[in-house]
């Protein structure tokens, strides 16, 4: 019985594998992998990073296709789990056709996975990992297009200082992303002479009552949230319901039309709601508006935060591959050449900024916009006005 079962099982598995294993062996194929959580409770953002990249491959792959290459996307699901991420990374590096990885939403997955990319010389352009350690390890293969925690936290605090904020209450979502930004916000806010009335982390997604009691008791001028909009907007809405009239400020995880769907009119009351983002208005980055329209047309949904960064990461990868291929007489370049080409890019015009990378793979200057939520209508999210523009270089 056991044996027969084993035979059947191995047959089944092998059948499954047979399908999964056929890899087109054409020598002119270039693949670009994405890694992000496509399943589980972080899939909303993870899927849209992949979609952003997919859209970019479609729209920006032209030059490479003209050179006779066939471009393919190889999407991987890291399940927001380091073990899966590392295993996928090893699978990715063992496929010689893959020349770049766009990826990872969680710094906790990116850091161990990029160790693998590093040993194989495969370039990884990160759309969302803000942890300073991502780049401070000094790997040639790791670049990112988002601002670091110690940049965006500073942006928020400087904005608050410019608006004469005297006291703040800092909340974060207990993820590497949210807490990182919040720590640096707090640090900078104290330097600027603001009174930090509280610094709290919460994994709670719905019921913020017990957090609101200390916030209301302190009645700060500003509540800062480091994290993503599904939590931030619910917190803001509940705070307004409890009678808080001060200012709300959040980070680029807040940049989604859904934020106002959750918060509604309450975001506009009091001193209003603000968020810092790299996706600027159409006047500065004309691509942004078109991106959102194309994205909606293709996937029938508004892009989540970091979808635009996914698009730009793919765009940068494609441009670097193109440059490296040209240098290699229109043949498929080596991985090392691609990694160097990313670093060599000069003023790449994307939809979330113009990118030039410094020696460790951070963008030399991060251009941040602080936006004000201006309408309770989700359709008008993209018309939110810029309140302040800040250019900040990452610490060396």
């Amino acid at each position: 019985m056991t044996k027969r079962l084993l035979v059947v099982l191995s047959l089944l598995l092998t059948a499954g594998m047979a399908i999964g294993s056929q890899v087109s062996a054409a020598d002119k194929v270039i693949k670009i992998a994405t890694q992000s959580p496509l399943s589980g409770d972080q899939s909303a953002v993870g899927v849209d990073i992949k979609r952003g990249a997919e859209l970019a491959l479609e729209q920006l792959g032209g030059p490479l296709t003209k050179m006779g290459f066939k471009l393919e996307l190889a999407p991987f699901d890291d399940q927001a789990n380091p073990d899966t991420g590392v295993a996928n990374a090893k699978r990715i590096v063992s496929d010689p056709a893959i020349l770049a990885v766009v990826g990872h939403f969680n710094s906790g997955v990116q850091i161990p996975s990029s160790e693998v990319y590093h040993t194989s010389g495969l370039v990884n352009v990160s759309p969302a990992n803000t942890n300073p350690k991502v780049t401070t390890r000094g790997y040639l293969e790791v670049d990112r297009i988002v601002g670091r925690d110690d940049v965006q936290g500073v942006v928020g605090a400087d904005f608050a200082a410019a608006h004469k904020v005297k006291s703040v209450f800092v909340v974060h979502d207990k993820t590497a992303y949210g807490q990182g930004i919040a720590e640096f916000f707090k640090q900078r806010a104290q330097e600027k002479g603001m009174k930090v009335l509280g610094f709290e982390g919460t994994e709670e997604k719905a019921n913020f009552d017990s957090l609101l009691s200390p916030i209301l008791a302190g009645n700060p001028d500003l509540v800062y949230f480091g994290g993503m909009y599904p939590q931030a907007s619910v917190l803001f809405k509940q705070a307004r319901e409890r009678g808080y009239l001060g200012m709300f400020l959040s980070d680029d995880g807040y940049d989604s039309a859904d934020a106002v769907k959750i918060g509604g009119q309450s975001l506009l009351e009091g001193t209003g709601t603000f968020y810092s983002t790299v996706s600027g208005p159409a006047a500065v980055y004309p691509g942004t508006k078109k991106f959102i329209e194309d994205f909606k047309a293709k996937f029938n949904a508004a892009p989540q935060p970091f979808a635009a960064q996914g698009y730009d990461s793919m765009g940068i990868s494609l441009k670097a591959i193109e440059d490296a291929a040209k240098a290699n007489h229109n043949k498929i370049p080596t991985r090392e050449a691609v990694a160097k080409a990313v670093r060599a890019l000069n003023d790449y015009h994307g939809i979330t900024g113009n990118f030039t990378f410094n020696g460790i793979g951070d963008p030399t200057i991060a251009k941040y916009f602080v936006m004000k939520v201006n309408s309770a209508d989700p359709a008008k999210w993209n018309d939110n006005p810029v309140v302040q523009t800040l250019d900040i270089a990452p610490p060396k």
Partner: protein
């Protein structure tokens, strides 16, 4: 059959039932009042004593420097609002916990998929409201119609969740009824995963959305101000939002209805009989399978209603929304004594109160070293403590586990 009829519906019984009706209807109300007031008083006393002690220490000084108010005053001023908040979430937990406890009472089995049944209820309710909003019915609806739509959404959520619970039982649990204890549990975990992704798949194929938002209509967001207090430089308002009242009232009504059904009707008697002993109950002419299905239906309906109420209170839902409330409600059920309905009620209220008190005051009492983020740990630690001293839970009967 004859025996059963004499037992359950003979004329003397009828008279007896009539006399018991009112008492059974009101008993849970008294219990709820007792539990709510009791836990509020006990917890408030503990917190106030702590505040008095800490007031003289560096903790009190730190707070005074920051807000210019003594720790005791701070605690006293914030206490009523914290109690209201705790009660609201406590009733949500209690309503979900009842689903766990009913199934456990009848089958001695933890229905892990209950949290997803809850989520399905929430999704159905919210989808209906979103459809109504698109159709234009919600904006400008009169107050009466707004409540009618809400009731419609709750009923739809109940029906969907109840139906789903019955289907799940039929497909995934019934074939395993005589297997060892772990087997249906693993199957339930499987169902839980399956349903999470089914919701996600359905949503992404139809609407393409991950987060669904409860539409804004009616006067549910309005907050009734009960009082104002001055504390140092700031004003603290004490109030309760209409939606919190709706949540509490609906939960109370459901609990009363359920209690009445189980303790004062023929069906309830059959449920209790099945809970005590399947073979004997079936010898008495009770269709055990039907009663088990019914238990799942009722538990699922409660879960579904709780789902819609949860969406109303907290606005945003996603396919994985059930996990945390489910876990908490499960904890509440065990805390109160799983299998015991009054226990689930008590457990829910106590747990909701505890975590709200802990979350609200811990940050101040520890000078920011440990804040809201520990409220879940607090809930679990209390659970472990209670179980050490009362292994059967607060109200559970001390019976040996069925083999």
């Amino acid at each position: 059959m004859e025996v059963r009829e004499i037992f359950l519906s003979g004329p003397p019984m009828k008279r007896y039932l009539k006399s018991i009706n009112l008492r059974e209807l009101l008993r849970p109300l008294g219990q709820m009042l007792l539990f709510s007031v009791g836990s509020t008083v006990i917890l408030s006393a503990i917190v106030l004593v702590l505040a008095l002690i800490l007031d003289k220490t560096v903790v009190g000084q730190t707070l005074f420097e920051r807000l210019n108010v003594s720790l005791f005053t701070y605690t006293l001023v914030n206490l009523p609002q914290v109690a209201i908040d705790g009660l609201t979430i406590g009733f949500v937990y209690a309503a979900i916990a009842l689903g766990y406890t009913m199934v456990y009472g009848v089958l001695e089995f933890i229905n892990f998929a209950h949290s997803e049944i809850f989520a399905v209820g929430a999704f159905v309710g919210v989808e209906i409201l979103i459809a109504l909003e698109k159709y234009g019915a919600l904006s400008g609806a009169s107050l009466f119609m707004a409540y009618a739509y809400l009731v419609l959404a709750i009923i739809a959520g109940m029906l969907a969740a109840g139906g789903l619970a019955v289907a799940v039982e039929r497909v995934a649990y019934r074939p395993l009824r005589h297997a060892s204890r772990l087997v249906p549990l693993i199957s339930a975990i499987g169902v839980s995963f399956l349903l999470q992704d089914m919701i996600r798949l359905t949503e992404s194929l139809t609407t393409g959305q991950f987060n669904r938002i409860f539409p804004t209509f009616g006067n549910f967001d309005h907050r009734i101000i009960l009082g104002r207090m001055t504390m140092g430089a700031t004003n603290i308002t004490l109030g309760v939002s209409i939606k919190s009242i709706i949540v509490i009232v609906s939960a109370v009504l459901m609990l009363m209805g359920l209690n009445y059904m189980v303790n004062a009707t023929k069906i309830g008697k059959a449920i209790r009989a099945v809970a005590q002993d399947h073979p004997t109950a079936s010898l008495m002419g009770i269709d055990v399978n039907r009663i088990i299905s019914l238990t799942f239906l009722v538990g699922g309906m409660l879960g579904g209603a709780a789902g819609v109420l949860y969406a109303l209170k907290f606005t945003r839902i996603d396919p994985f929304v059930g996990f945390f409330p489910g876990l908490k409600a499960f904890t509440a059920a065990v805390l109160g004594g799983i299998g015991n309905m009054t226990g689930a009620l008590l457990g829910g209220i106590v747990l909701g109160m505890l975590e709200t008190y802990a979350g609200s005051f811990m940050g101040v009492f520890t000078m920011g070293a440990a804040g809201t983020e520990y409220k879940d740990i607090f809930a679990f630690s209390i659970l472990i403590l209670v179980l050490i001293f009362r292994p059967q839970g607060l109200m559970g009967a001390n019976v040996a586990q069925k083999a």
